[in-house]
């Protein structure tokens, strides 16, 4: 039959080890991706034409470039450049994990910055003006008016983006990282049974996506309390 439960149980620890790698890659990508996306989103809504042009170019490049191409350009291509090969940067770029997280974060930031910028633009202008008139400082307005509003508006799109990040981490398996995808392929090579490990890995990916998606949905509902 397609699934062999004895293989599944015997190799489950291998898959779980891979899952841990995948969870790590996802977590780091979400954090670093957000750290890159925030300034880009700020540029996207800035008054300065140059800042907006930069943000639009950033989004066009990192959303338009396929993730795998970006990863291979960084992993295989970057060592060709003297500025990377002959400086301290090489210490980072020689690590497959660094390359994978850099590619994933840039790719994710391309999508995420648009989500953030769009959510901030969607905050009603009147509320911001009212808060300013009431004497709140620029920082307080950002902290107490724009942030909670924008989080509510952008969270659904963010949930989708998180799913794409989880799915995207599987490219790490193509640059020698033993994430869940690579672990599944490893079990296949040693058992000659492709179905059990790959379907098993598929189930684990599915559960991870479901769990994180549910968490974000719950958060969205919580934030929307009091907003019809």
């Amino acid at each position: 039959m397609l699934m062999d439960f004895e293989t599944a149980l015997g190799y489950l620890p291998v898959l779980l080890d891979g899952l841990i790698q995948t969870v790590w890659l996802t977590a780091l990508t979400l954090v670093i991706g957000a750290a890159i996306a925030l300034p880009v989103a700020w540029c996207r809504n800035a008054d300065s034409t140059a800042a907006r042009a930069f943000a639009i170019t950033f989004v066009f490049v990192f959303r338009g470039a396929p993730l795998l191409v970006l990863l291979f350009l960084i992993y295989y291509g970057a060592p060709d450049l003297p500025i990377i090969r002959q400086t301290v940067l090489w210490e980072a770029f020689r690590e497959p994990v660094f390359c994978a997280i850099l590619a994933l974060s840039l790719n994710s930031a391309g999508y995420l910055s648009e989500v953030i910028a769009g959510a901030v633009r969607a905050v009603p202008r009147g509320e911001v003006e009212a808060a300013r008139v009431a004497g709140l400082s620029r920082f307080s307005v950002a902290r107490h008016v724009i942030l909670p509003n924008a989080a509510r508006i952008g969270l659904r799109a963010y949930g989708n983006e998180v799913t794409f990040v989880i799915k995207g981490t599987s490219v790490a398996s193509l640059v020698t990282i033993t994430d869940l995808m690579a672990s599944a392929n490893r079990v296949y090579y040693s058992t000659f049974d492709p179905f059990t490990p790959l379907i098993g890995a598929g189930c684990l990916y599915f559960l991870f996506v479901l769990l994180l998606g549910r968490t974000i949905n719950a958060l969205e509902r919580r934030l929307s309390v009091g907003n019809a």
């Binding site: 191409v69 060709d80 981490t169 492709p194 599915f206």
Partner: protein, 237 residues
């Protein structure tokens, strides 16, 4: 940069790269067309079929959208021959079936595309105003005719932006098939890089070509949307 790397003929890698680009475009177009047709049917099944069947297709779409494309591609490649052999055995035919990496890649990307398309189609059909359908029925149109003459033309318009986005998604998913050995654009660039040790030049070229493809697609989308919605009054006109 050394441009002779990209020259045609035996000296450069230009013709190999163009061949790979052709494979990539063929892969994208085929999987988009197959996936869109299948996904439209899936969406209509989810909307109109009896509950268990609709739930089955909804489950398929949910799983396909939650699992990495790369995994779907590997699984399809490993499983396609096996499944085809078992299927033929049902009819008493016992034979070896081998599925090419290209065919497996098209199948896998089409399966993913179908899952996303069914969501777009469901939304588009639901967006057709109910009053229009009631009017059509009141005029004496049978449900099939009303669907064909009223729901479908409108739903197609509503679905267009979503489908255009999915075309971009398909394009960006194509490089994954190089993992099962398809000699597509990025696969050829990898071979060229391996032989010349100029990975950066080749992968940068691949990235730029993908950006051109997505730029051209965006312009095409704008032009087609303007045509599709030409009868809809906009704020400016």
């Amino acid at each position: 940069m050394d441009w002779s790397l990209f020259s045609l003929g035996a000296a450069g890698w230009g013709d190999e790269l163009l061949y790979g680009l052709g494979i990539t475009l063929a892969l994208a177009v085929l999987s988009f067309l197959i996936g869109t047709v299948a996904g439209t049917l899936f969406g209509l099944v989810e909307l109109h079929a009896p509950r268990p069947l609709a739930a089955l297709f909804a489950g398929y779409a949910l799983v396909m959208r939650s699992v990495p494309e790369l995994l779907v591609i590997f699984l399809t490649y490993y499983a396609a021959g096996f499944v085809a052999e078992r299927f033929l055995e049902l009819f008493g035919i016992s034979t070896r079936v081998s599925v090419s990496a290209f065919a497996a890649g098209v199948m896998a990307l089409a399966m993913v595309q179908a899952a996303y398309t069914s969501e777009v189609i469901k939304g588009a059909v639901r967006a057709v105003p109910g009053g229009l359908l009631e009017a059509a029925r009141a005029l004496g149109m049978r449900p099939v005719i009303a669907f064909w003459k009223v729901t479908l033309p409108l739903a197609m318009r509503y679905a267009f932006p979503g489908l255009a986005n999915l075309w971009m998604v398909v394009i960006k998913n194509t490089p994954f098939v190089s993992a099962i050995g398809v000699t597509d654009f990025i696969g050829q660039a990898g071979t060229a890089g391996q032989n010349t040790k100029h990975y950066f030049a080749f992968f940068l070229a691949v990235l730029l070509v993908y950006l051109v493809i997505s730029g051209v697609s965006m312009i095409g989308q704008l032009v087609m949307e303007r045509r599709l919605f030409r009868h809809v009054p906009t704020a400016g006109s």
